[in-house]
Every structure is written in C-alpha cells, then in structure tokens.
C-alpha cells in the first residue's frame, strides 16, 4: 500500500497508512516483528510454561500446586458439567456494571463542575484527593457499619472505588481544554450550556476516558474485595469457598475468570474509545 503524497500548499490531505509503517518495520527488523514470529514466541513460551508447571506440580504435592491438567479438569467441571461459574460471574459483573456505571455518571458531573468553577474545586479538592489516595478496602469496615452486609455494600464500594479517578481525570480534562477553542464558542455567542456540550466535554474526552480506564480496574478490585471480605458471593465468594476447602485446582478457575473479564472489559473500552473519538490519531499507532 503506497503512502499518499504529503500535502502541498493549499492542496491534498495528509494521510499515511499505519499499516504501511508496520509492514515496513517488519522487513527491516526481522522475524520477531511478523505476525507468525509473534505468535510462535507466544505459543512456545506458553507450552514451555505449562509443561514445566505440570512436571513440577506432579513431583511436589498435587493438592498444593495444582498442575495444569487438574486445572483443566476444574475448568470443564465448573463451566460445563456443573456450570456454577456462570452464576457467580453474572453476580459479579452485575455489581460491577451497576456501580461502575453510576460512578462514571456522577464522576463526570462532579469533575465537570469542579473543572469549570474554581471555587468548587478548592472546596472539594481536599476530600477528593484524600479519598483518592485512600485504599478503598480500608473503608470496608466503615461501610459495613453503615450499610450492613447487603447488596448496597457492594455497590457502595464499587462506586467509591470508581468515582474518584473519574472525578480527577475529568477535572483535569476540563481544565486542559484549549483556551482558544473556548474563545471560538464565546465569539459565536454560545450559552454556558452550549459551551460545555460543544467544546468542554468533547475536548476533555481523552482525559475522561483515561479516568474511566483507571476506574474500571479500581471498580473491579472493589467488587472482588467486597465479595471476598463482606458478602461472600460471586466470583470473590467462589475464591473464598474453594480456599477454605483447600481445593487449589478449583481455586484457579474464578481467578482465571476474573483475569478474562478484566482483559475483555479493557479491550472493549478501548474499542469504544476508538469509535467515540474517530478523530484521535493516537489509536492509529497501536499495533497488532
């Protein structure tokens, strides 16, 4: 794919395909940059890891170290035969989405107001900074006193874990909007509401998304923490129960499930980001 010519004065648009770049690099730098090269390395390392683990675990106590073969059995049992994984998964993801969704809405609103109104920022800033720095798990006992051991507790924790990164990043994004772009809106006689919807929010989007990405991982931690310490349910609850009965092989299954959920949600978020911000060229550089 040949690159388009660079712009001449007042002329054609500038656009160089990202694909062209990576192909170029592959032929220059070698095997490890081609798709086959990458996947070969990944598969080979994975196989070596599994085999080494299998051999080690079979030599030492099987119960303690859970060789991959046992883990595979557990996976099949929990996903297909008994299917208990799915129920727990639904519970955890449900709480995650509810709390996380609320955190985004509230967080963006608060961050927006704090970014636009200096006074509000100075008033709220000490609390936001302090609570952001505080590990959310430390609040569990306090939350138990307030909410009791109930569904609200999980939602509260997920919400608290997720809302502060969103607030802080939204505020930074709002303050970071190019002043000259705000001038454009003012010259056009835009009302405050129009300024916010047409300039501030779109301009702050990259920051807001960064905050949402952090909030997602924090919210997930919140769910698991709540499920492992206060209400023993969902994936976290599964971990506790299997641990209490020393079922090491089974123990890996919810852990792997959490990993998969986390990776999948992050990837989904990236996709969403790319769709909502088609003008952002940073994404064009991310490779295979």
């Amino acid at each position: 794919m040949t690159p388009k010519p660079a712009a001449h004065p007042g002329g054609a648009p500038v656009r160089v395909s990202a694909l062209h770049h990576s192909h170029h690099r592959a032929t220059r730098r070698g095997f490890l940059y081609t798709r086959t090269g990458v996947w070969t390395v990944r598969i080979v390392t994975f196989v070596i890891l599994i085999v080494a683990w299998e051999l080690y675990a079979s030599g030492v106590s099987r119960a303690l170290f859970a060789p991959p073969s046992a883990i595979l059995e557990s996976i099949i049992e929990l996903t297909i035969t008994e299917g208990t994984l799915w129920g727990a998964l639904a519970i955890s993801i449900g709480a995650l989405i509810a709390g996380f969704g609320l955190a985004i809405v509230v967080g963006v609103l608060i961050g927006l107001f704090m970014g636009r109104f200096r006074t509000l920022e100075y008033v709220l800033d000490p609390y936001v900074s302090f609570l952001y720095a505080l590990p959310s798990i430390a609040l569990i006992p306090l939350l138990v006193i307030w909410f009791g051991i109930d569904t609200e507790l999980r939602l509260a924790l997920v919400f608290i874990a997720g809302v502060f990164p969103v607030i802080i990043n939204t505020m930074a994004g709002v303050k970071n909007v190019d002043v000259e772009l705000l001038d454009v809106a003012r010259v056009a006689c835009a009302s405050e509401r129009q300024v916010v919807t047409t300039v501030v929010l779109p301009g702050a989007m990259p920051f807001i998304f960064a905050g949402i990405r952090v909030a997602l991982s924090q919210a997930l931690v919140g769910v698991i923490v709540a499920e492992m310490t206060a209400i023993i349910t969902g994936l976290g609850g599964m971990i506790i129960r299997f641990a209490n009965f020393f079922q090491t092989a089974n123990l890996f299954v919810p852990i792997l499930a959490i990993m998969v959920v986390s990776v999948a949600l992050t990837a989904g978020l990236k996709r969403l980001e790319r769709r909502l911000m088609p003008w952002d060229h940073r994404h064009a550089e991310e490779g295979a």
């Binding site: 990944r42 798990i137 430390a138 641990a243 986390s262 990776v263």
Partner: protein
C-alpha cells in the same frame, strides 16, 4: 476583617471547607457516635492508641517493614524488567502477556492462593507488595525505554556507543521521568497491597487493626488507622516526587532570560 479577596483565595477556601466539615461532623456525629464517630472522639482515640495503649505504632511498624522490603524488591526488579522488555524484543514478546494478565487481576483475588503457597506472615506481605507494585513500575519503565527520542539515540550511535553505553548514557537518563511516574504509582499500590493482605490474611499490622475495630463497632478507633493510612499515602507520593526532582535537575530549571 475578612475581605472578599480573602474569601476567594484557594488556600482559604480549602481550609475553610475542611473546618466547616469538621464542625458539621462533630455536631452530627455526637447524635449517633457509632455511625461515623466525631472528630474530638477520633483525636482522643488517636491519643489513646498512640501513646497510652501503644497499639498503633507497633502495628504501623509491621506494615512499614513489609512495605519497605517489598517495594525495594519490586523497584529494582521492575525497573530491570521494564528496561529489558523495552530494549529487547524477545523479552518483550515473552513476558508481555503474563505481565498484562497479572496486572489486570486484583491482587486480593490471589491472596488465598498465595496464603496456601507462602503462609500468612512476612513472606505473604512482601509477596503481595511486590505483586501490587511491580507492574506499574514495569509498564512505565517500558514506555520510558521505548519513548526515547530517536534523535538522541542517533546521537549515541553517531558516537559509536556500544549497547551497554547506549543504555547507561542515553536510554536510562531519558527514561527517568517515566520511571518515577511508575514508582509513584507503584508506591501507592504497594500500600494498598499490604493493607489488603493484612485485612484478609495476616494477624498483625495496621490492616488488622481496622478489621478488629470494625468488628467491635469501635468507630472512633476505626478512623485512626484509616486516616493515618490516607495521610501516609499522600506523604509517600510527595517523597517520590521529591526524589524525582533531585534525580532530574535538568527538568525543572527556569529558562534564563
């Protein structure tokens, strides 16, 4: 005389709002101390725990030990791995999926497994701290190593620097800001990690205090370790920031006009 100007001054607003909340807390808290306690009770509890009972400092010391050792390990390892992954393609390919997967997993989910493998004492704390803090360090160092300005690399090559020289004279100095960003995030996560470990598995430490006081509805005592942790977290971040400024004297100077 409070002029209108003073009322709008940022520091005044911050202090003012904190004072206002403290007063409100005091008044409302006394109505039902179990819910959220109130500032004077918390201060009294602090005095009791810190000086009379002597429960606070030993617990804090235990936490600190695990934190310091764990963070030391993860900074050294993390930076080394980060640079290795950033400069050597093969290392990058091999480690990347596992680094990403582990980074994505909440450490607390791994605690029961780790308890089975390493027990519930010092080793557990250190392991959790390492697992919590090493990933941001690796990732940020990695980005730093990869983001070195091409022109600077070309300069090194033009002077025929060998691999090791390139690393020490160009790559490392250029990556220091990223490194410190990673360390800052890492230190915060390390603190979270050790509290998590102490609240779920260990029997001593600041995290355990929180659990105990919560269990017995001693809300006033409960707030003490919580607030201390929050403040400590901020202090740690400032310390790392300070070290960063010392390490990069070239980054902060004002231009000579």
């Amino acid at each position: 005389m409070i002029s209108a100007r003073t009322l709008r001054d940022p520091t005044m607003l911050r202090i003012g709002s904190v004072v206002a909340v403290l007063v409100l807390w005091e008044v409302l808290g006394r109505l039902d101390p179990i819910v959220a306690s109130y500032p004077t009770a918390i201060v009294a509890a602090f005095v009791e725990l810190a000086f009379v009972d002597n429960t606070l400092w030993p617990a804090f010391a235990t936490t600190l030990q695990g934190l310091v050792v764990g963070f030391a390990i993860s900074s050294v390892l993390g930076v080394a791995i980060g640079f290795a992954m950033g400069r050597i393609r093969l290392v990058d390919l091999i480690l990347d999926p596992y680094v990403s997967a582990l980074y994505a997993t909440p450490r607390i989910a791994l605690v029961p497994l780790l308890v089975l493998w390493v027990g519930i004492d010092f080793e557990l704390r250190v392991t959790i701290v390492v697992l919590s803090s090493i990933f941001p360090i690796i990732i940020n160092t990695y980005i730093g190593a990869k983001s070195v300005d091409r022109e600077l690399l070309d300069t090194g090559r033009a002077f025929a620097a060998n691999g090791w020289q390139m690393l020490t004279t160009v790559v490392v100095p250029a990556s220091i800001p990223y490194l410190f960003a990673g360390l800052r995030i890492g230190v915060a996560r390390a603190l979270v990690g050790i509290i998590v470990a102490e609240m779920t598995a260990a029997v001593t430490g600041t995290g355990q205090l929180i659990i105990q006081y919560g269990r017995f509805f001693q809300t006033d005592k409960l707030f003490v370790p919580v607030i201390i942790l929050g403040l400590f977290s901020i202090v740690l971040a400032e310390v790392v920031y300070f070290l960063q400024r010392r390490a990069t004297p070239w980054a902060n100077v004002e231009r000579i006009r």
